[in-house]
C-alpha cells in the first residue's frame, strides 16, 4: 500500500512539474481570437480611416504579418510600392498589371503570377508562391477589405494612395450577395 501511495504521489508531482513549467516557466501569449466579420461603415469613411482599417486588417484578420515580418519568410512590404515599380519594369514580369495598385492587387489574389525570386515554394523554382489568396477561404478578405489593405500598403511605402474608397452601393450589394450565399 505504501508503494501504491508513493507511486501516486510521484506521478502527481511529475504532472505538477510539467503543469507548472507550462503555466509559469514560459511567457504566456494569448492567441489572437478568430477573425470576425466586421461591418464596414462606408458612409462616414475618410481616406485616413480607410488606411487605418487596412493597417488593422494587415495585422489581424488578413494574417499578413504571419509571413511578412522580420523573420525573412516573405519580402517586407514597407517598400512595396518601390519594389512593385521595379518588378513592373522587369522583363521577368509576365503578369497583366499596369499600375502599382493593380500589381499589389494581383500579388494578393494570385500570388503565383509573379513570385519574388527566392521566395517560391520549395522545389518549384520560384514558379509557385506559398502565399494564400488573400480573398480565398483561408484568409477571406472581402473586396473592400483588400482595397483597404492595399491603400495601407501604399501609404506605408510613403507614396500616393491611388485606391478609391468603394462607394455605398458596392458595399450594399456585397452584403446582400453574402446573405444569399448563406441560403444556398
Amino acid at each position: 500500500m505504501t508503494n501504491f501511495i508513493k507511486v501516486c504521489i510521484f506521478s502527481l508531482l511529475t504532472v505538477g512539474a510539467f503543469w507548472g513549467y507550462s503555466s509559469f516557466g514560459i511567457p504566456q501569449i494569448k492567441p489572437a481570437p478568430p477573425p470576425v466579420e466586421a461591418k464596414v461603415d462606408l458612409g462616414s469613411m475618410t481616406m485616413e480611416k480607410f488606411i487605418a482599417l487596412g493597417a488593422e486588417l494587415f495585422d489581424g484578420k488578413g494574417d499578413c504579418t504571419l509571413c511578412h515580418n522580420e523573420m525573412g519568410r516573405a519580402p517586407m512590404l514597407e517598400k512595396a510600392v518601390a519594389d512593385a515599380e521595379k518588378t513592373l519594369k522587369s522583363p521577368a514580369y509576365k503578369g497583366t498589371a499596369k499600375t502599382v495598385e493593380e500589381y499589389l492587387y494581383e500579388s494578393s489574389v494570385s500570388p503565383s503570377v509573379y513570385v519574388v525570386p527566392g521566395f517560391g515554394k520549395k522545389g518549384t523554382n520560384d514558379t509557385v508562391s506559398p502565399m494564400p489568396d488573400a480573398t480565398g477561404s483561408s484568409v477571406g478578405l472581402t473586396k473592400i477589405e483588400l482595397a483597404a489593405v492595399i491603400a495601407y500598403l501604399q501609404d506605408l511605402s510613403g507614396s500616393e494612395v491611388t485606391v478609391q474608397i468603394p462607394t455605398m452601393d458596392a458595399s450594399a450589394e456585397g452584403a446582400e450577395s453574402a446573405k444569399s450565399k448563406e441560403c444556398e
Partner: protein
C-alpha cells in the same frame, strides 16, 4: 478580371447565381452519384449545449483519453507478436510468459478504448452535429467498415488471449502466432481509418471552393497528411505502449513478495523500457517528416505550427523529451548494477551524464520564434538576449544528435558490462569504436557550427540531414563492430535480475507519465493548428469555443486528462492483479456430498 474572383462575394445578384450553380458541379450528374452538401456556415445557435457543460473540454478530454488507450492497445500487440516469435525461436518460455502478461493487461484497456470511442461519438453527435454529419457523409464507407472491423478485431483479440494456453506447441503455436499477426493488421487498419478522418480536417482533399466533396472514398482517406500522421502515430504508439507496460512492471516490481517475482518484473521492466526507447529514437525523424509535409501542404499552416503560441509548445516538448531521455539513461545506469562486470564502465557514466545534461539545456533554450509583430512586441524580440546563440535550430539539432548518440552509448555500455571480449582484435575494435565516435561527434559539431553561424540561409536547417546521417552511421557501424566483437563473448556472471534499487523503478513511472502528458500536449497542437476551422480553410468553427486557448489553459486540461488516464490505468493494473487471486472461504459454501 482575375480568375479567382469567382470565389469572392459576388458584386451583383447574377454573379451570385452563377456562383451558386458552379458550387454544385454534380447537380447535373446521374442521380446514382451522391450529392454532397457544401460546408455549412454555422453560428453559435447551431451548436447544442448542455447547461454547465463545456462542450469543447468534454470532447477534448474524451478524445484524448480514447487516443491514449487506443495507442496503448494498438501498440502492445505489435511487440507481443515479436516477443512471442522470439520465444518460439529461442524456445525460452519466459518470453512466452511475458508476452502473455502484456496482452493480459491490454484486455481491460481494450474495452475501455471501445467505451471511450463510443462516448466520443456520442459527444460529437451531441455537441457538433453539423460537423459530424458533414464528415459522416464523406466518410460513410470507411465509418461503416470501421465499425465492422471492430468486431473482427475483438474476435481475434479474444481468441488470441483466451486461447493462449490452448494453442501451445507445434502447429498450434503457429496458428496462435498467425492470430497475433491478424490482430496487428486489424488494429493498424482501424487506426489508419480513424487517422484519415482526423487528417481530412487538417488537409481536406477533393473539396471545391464551397466545400462540396467531389471525390471518392479513397480520395478522402488518402489526403495529404494521412501517411505522415500514420507513420508518426505508429512509431509513437509503440514507444508509448512500451512505457505503459514498463510502468506496470515497475509497479509489480515494487510490490513483489519474493526474489523470483522481483527478478521477473525487473526483466519485464527492462524489456518494456528497451521497447519504449527503441521506438523513441526514430520518433524525431517521423516528426520532422510530418512537419515538413505540413509546410508543403500549406505554408500558412506550417508557420502557424512553428510560430506564435505553438512555438512555445515545442520548447515544452523539448523539456519533456529531455526528461524521457534522462530517465531512460538513468534506468540503464541503474541496470548496470545487475552485472558483476559493470565496474569496468561505471566511471564513464558521469561523462555521459554531463553531455546529456548539456545537450538537454541547449535543447530547451528558447529558440528563434516565428511570431506575429504584436507578439514580437510583447516579448521584446525573437531572440533571447544572452541565449540567442544557442537557441537557433542548428544548435538544437546538434544537441538532439548528441542526446541520441550518448543514449546509444549508455546502452552499449550496459550491454558490454556483463561480457568479456574473447576475440583477438578486441583492442583494434575498441580503438575503431572510439575513433568512430570521436570523428562522428566532431563532424556533427562542425556541421552544426558551420550551418548555424557561417551561412545565411533563411531557415538554417540545412545541417540537419547530414547530422542525422552521421548519427545513424555511427550507430549502425558501431552495432556491427560490437556484434562481431562480442560474438561468442563470455558472460562475466549470470545477470542478477531483480538487483535493482527501488528508486530505479521511478524512472519507469517518469517515462510513462511524461509520455502521456507529452501526447496530450501534442494532441492539442495537432488539433490547434486548424485554428478557427473545423475543416481547415473550408468549414468554419462557429461555436463559442472556436478560439485557440492559451498555454496555461492547455496545461490545465492536459494535466487533468493525464490524471484521469493514470487513475484508469491503475484500475486496469489492479484488475489484472485481482483476477489472479483465489480466496478460499471455508464454511461459506455448502459441503458437497460425494
Amino acid at each position: 478580371m482575375f480568375m479567382l474572383s469567382a470565389f469572392m462575394p459576388a458584386a451583383n445578384a447574377s454573379e451570385a447565381a452563377a456562383t451558386a450553380s458552379t458550387a454544385v458541379p454534380d447537380a447535373a450528374a446521374p442521380a446514382t452519384k451522391a450529392i454532397f452538401p457544401p460546408a455549412p456556415k454555422l453560428t453559435e445557435a447551431d451548436y447544442p449545449s448542455i447547461k454547465g457543460v463545456n462542450a469543447r473540454v468534454v470532447v477534448w478530454l474524451v478524445a484524448q483519453l480514447h487516443l491514449w488507450f487506443g495507442a496503448f492497445v494498438v501498440a502492445v500487440p505489435m511487440f507481443v507478436f515479436i516477443i512471442e516469435a522470439i520465444g518460439m525461436a529461442t524456445r525460452e518460455q519466459r518470453y512466452d510468459k511475458m508476452a502473455y502478461e502484456f496482452i493480459k493487461v491490454t484486455i481491460t484497456a481494450y474495452s475501455l478504448t471501445a467505451l471511450l470511442g463510443g462516448l466520443l461519438s456520442f459527444c460529437l453527435i451531441l455537441f457538433y452535429p453539423d460537423l459530424f454529419q458533414y464528415l459522416a457523409l464523406i466518410f460513410k464507407e470507411s465509418m461503416f467498415a470501421y465499425a465492422l472491423l471492430f468486431f473482427a478485431e475483438s474476435a481475434v483479440l479474444y481468441i488470441y488471449y483466451y486461447g493462449w494456453h490452448w494453442l501451445q506447441g507445434g502447429n498450434k503455436k503457429w496458428v496462435h502466432l498467425t492470430l497475433g499477426l491478424l490482430l496487428n493488421a486489424f488494429g493498424l487498419l482501424l487506426m489508419f481509418l480513424a487517422n484519415a478522418w482526423t487528417t481530412f480536417m487538417m488537409s481536406p482533399a477533393a473539396l471545391d471552393a464551397a466545400g462540396v466533396f467531389n471525390g471518392d472514398t479513397w480520395a478522402a482517406i488518402h489526403n495529404f497528411l494521412w501517411n505522415p500522421i500514420n507513420l508518426h502515430r505508429t512509431v509513437a504508439n509503440v514507444a508509448y505502449g512500451g512505457s505503459i507496460v514498463g510502468a506496470y512492471a515497475a509497479f509489480k516490481f515494487l510490490s513483489a513478495k519474493n526474489k523470483e517475482e522481483r527478478a521477473h518484473y525487473d526483466w519485464m521492466g527492462y524489456n518494456a523500457n528497451f521497447i519504449a526507447i527503441g521506438a523513441l529514437l526514430p520518433l524525431p525523424f517521423a516528426g520532422y517528416y510530418l512537419t515538413a509535409e505540413m509546410y508543403a501542404y500549406s505554408q500558412q499552416m506550417g508557420i502557424t505550427l512553428m510560430g506564435g503560441v505553438f512555438a512555445w509548445i515545442f520548447i515544452i516538448q523539448a523539456v519533456l523529451i529531455g526528461a524521457l531521455f534522462l530517465s531512460a539513461n538513468y534506468y540503464l545506469w541503474c541496470g548496470m548494477g545487475r552485472s558483476e562486470g559493470a565496474h569496468r564502465y561505471n566511471h564513464w557514466i558521469k561523462y555521459i551524464a554531463v553531455v546529456l545534461v548539456v545537450s538537454f539545456l541547449v535543447w530547451f533554450t528558447p529558440h528563434t520564434l516565428v511570431l506575429t509583430n504584436s507578439e514580437l512586441k510583447d516579448l521584446g524580440g525573437p531572440y533571447h538576449k544572452y541565449l540567442g546563440v544557442l537557441g537557433i535550430m542548428p544548435a538544437k539539432n546538434t544537441a538532439v544528435n548528441f542526446l541520441i548518440l550518448f543514449t546509444y552509448l549508455s546502452f552499449m555500455f550496459y550491454r558490454r558490462s556483463n561480457k568479456f571480449v574473447t576475440v583477438s582484435w578486441a583492442k583494434v575494435g575498441n580503438a575503431a569504436q572510439v575513433a568512430l565516435f570521436v570523428a562522428g561527434s566532431i563532424n556533427i559539431t562542425i556541421l552544426g557550427v558551420y550551418h548555424g553561424y557561417f551561412t545565411n540561409t533563411v531557415i538554417k536547417i540545412a545541417a540537419s540531414i547530414p547530422q542525422v546521417l552521421t548519427t545513424l552511421v555511427i550507430i549502425i557501424v558501431s552495432v556491427i563492430i560490437d556484434a562481431l566483437m562480442y560474438k561468442g563473448a563470455k558472460d562475466v556472471a549470470p545477470l542478477r535480475w531483480g538487483r535493482m534499487p527501488p528508486r530505479s523503478q521511478y524512472a519507469l513511472f517518469l517515462l510513462a507519465v511524461s509520455f502521456t502528458w507529452l501526447m496530450g500536449l501534442m494532441g492539442y497542437v495537432r488539433s490547434g493548428i486548424r485554428q478557427h476551422w473545423h475543416v481547415y480553410n473550408m468549414f468554419r468553427d462557429g461555436s463559442p469555443d472556436a478560439f485557440t486557448p492559451g498555454l496555461d489553459y492547455v496545461a490545465n486540461i492536459v494535466s487533468i486528462g493525464t490524471i484521469i488516464f493514470m487513475a484508469m490505468v491503475i484500475f486496469v493494473f489492479w484488475l489484472s492483479t485481482v483476477s489472479g487471486k483465489h480466496v478460499v472461504s471455508k464454511g461459506y459454501w455448502k459441503e458437497q456430498q460425494a
